[in-house]
């Protein structure tokens, strides 16, 4: 299906990116993204995904909006105490009619995942579920000085192989927004150019980014069984 004139105008800046063409935009439109976590830390990335034109964004967050979430980009102060998934849905759906935003449906079959869960345990669990399902996924791993974003295409070393165990806390608001947006950008690349991005980890510490390919830990469950 060719992009309409309105869609071309809407995503003109994105369509300028080298290696990102009409077919890539159509792959985004066909994607069903499971977003694990919709707190203040995840919000900038969720906005990015909607503005990039993913077809469906399913919000997977069982918590309610807390006062800290209001400091992000999604949740109004009037939403404190209400379900985070619904509050995020309302805010995100208002941004674009090209994306269907909904709470994660029971039995839903996503094609990609953004993991920005509040706790390391939730991140590990969601990332492993994504790996087992063969989904391209990106994990946000904040710590006090910034954090990291780990891109995991199908078959790449898993999050458990590449995660940091030393981080604690969360960076200041601009830092977490940068991290969250970077994760969404990585996921957009994974969806738009499925063979174009290797497994990699980007550390973003005090505004300085460093990138390295991820490596598999011997004995990890993600090690290919056929080897």
């Amino acid at each position: 299906m060719a992009l309409s004139e309105v869609q071309i105008a809407r995503w003109a800046r994105q369509l300028l990116v080298p290696a990102f063409g009409e077919a890539a935009q159509e792959r985004l439109a066909g994607a069903r993204v499971r977003a694990v976590g919709a707190d203040g830390a995840a919000s900038a990335g969720l906005v990015y995904l909607v503005q990039a034109g993913v077809g469906r964004l399913w919000i997977d967050d069982a918590e309610t909006v807390g006062p800290a979430d209001v400091a992000g980009w999604l949740h109004p102060s009037s939403a404190v105490g209400t379900p985070r998934a619904e509050s995020a849905r309302v805010a995100l759906q208002a941004l674009s009619h090209f994306t269907v935003v909904a709470p994660y449906p029971r039995g839903g079959v996503p094609t990609a995942a953004l993991v920005a869960a509040p706790s390391p345990a939730q991140c590990l669990h969601a990332a492993e579920a994504s790996r087992r399902a063969g989904l391209p996924h990106v994990v946000v791993e904040p710590d006090a000085d910034g954090g990291a974003v780990i891109a995991i295409p199908p078959g790449a070393p898993c999050y458990a192989c590449s995660r940091s165990t030393s981080g604690a806390g969360r960076p200041a608001l601009p830092g977490i927004a940068a991290l969250s947006s970077l994760a969404a950008a990585e996921l957009v690349q994974l969806i738009a150019a499925p063979a174009g991005l290797p497994g990699r980890r980007i550390d973003l510490v005090r505004g300085v980014a460093t990138l390295r390919p991820t490596a598999r830990l011997p004995g990890c469950a993600c090690y290919p069984a056929a080897r």
Partner: protein, 84 residues
Amino acid sequence: MSAAPLDLRAFACPLTWVKTRIALERIAPGEVLELWLSGGEPVESVPRSAEGEGHRVVRVEPAGTSWRVLLEKGAVSPEDRPWR
């Protein structure tokens, strides 16, 4: 074989190049795309961008206050190029 002419005289950057790029994506390597552009920035930047992505600028010629540009699609599609 050539694609239908693309009249971009009513558009400004970045839509001039975005629409050209999409039109090039829709045709086969070796096919020629005919563009109609306004003078100034569009006729300067669109051929340059096309060359930068591996297409051949066959002709750039004035036609009254407009410009007629012929681009031959290169062998490498934008999608085959690496992300920068």
